[in-house]
Symmetry: C2
Subunit: 135 residues, 2 copies
């Protein structure tokens, strides 16, 4: 794992929440939806299905824990989980809280409109609130 | 699992490929992308993160095997995997083969345009070709 380096676009578009055992957990810088991204620290990984079974189990545990906490924190109606990577190939898993009437509901969050960034205070507030639910 | 019944919309929008140990594997009836859907036969399941760890491991094994075979069959550039469920709440996992220049690339397949159904022969051909890669 020594060669892992976070993709520059992922770094630019997100705020670090915390480092989990296997993934860098990041807040997507878009206030339209509560949107977290897990980036496994595995150099060169692009596709979920080429990970080893052990890697998938460990990373999926983190995905499920993050999804549970995001659901608890937001009280959202639906969690969306996805590994897409058409634009940024470095493997990353989206976990998004969705509600009826949110931007583009019931359509997907990806590729819709323009990001609406957090200001520093509101990103910090989100992250602290998420960490409370996560712990 | 005795109470599981496939959602009517999923049934109407897909062709059965085969029954796996844990999931019904189905071809989405849209020729724009090679697009498979796994529906875990778990009554009432809606969210990935509320499954037990054992359920997630078994189902994810099937997802990864399906993704590998779809990649092998199509030679696609990217696999997209997602559990969304904003419209159909019954838990289902999308596995889609994507290529530069396909419909809505690099945007998502969900919510884009209108389905272009298979004719019976071409659906059968796809399914047989997939099964060869899967076995």
């Amino acid at each position: 794992m020594t060669d892992f380096k976070l993709d520059e676009r992922l770094e630019a578009d997100t705020h670090l929440v915390c480092e989990l055992e296997n993934c860098s957990l990041r807040l997507l810088d878009d206030t339209r939806w509560p949107w977290l991204v897990l980036v496994p620290r595995i150099a060169g990984a692009e596709e979920w299905h080429v990970l080893t079974k052990g890697q998938r189990i460990m990373i999926d545990d983190e995905v499920a824990r993050v999804a549970s906490a995001l659901k608890e924190m937001t009280g959202c109606q639906k969690i969306n989980i996805a590994s897409i990577g058409n634009m940024v190939r470095q493997l990353h898993i989206h976990v998004v809280a969705r509600n009826e009437g949110d931007a583009n509901w019931p359509g997907p969050v990806w590729g819709f409109g323009t990001r609406e960034p957090y200001d520093v205070d509101s990103a910090t507030t989100f992250i602290e609130s998420f960490k409370s639910a996560f712990s």
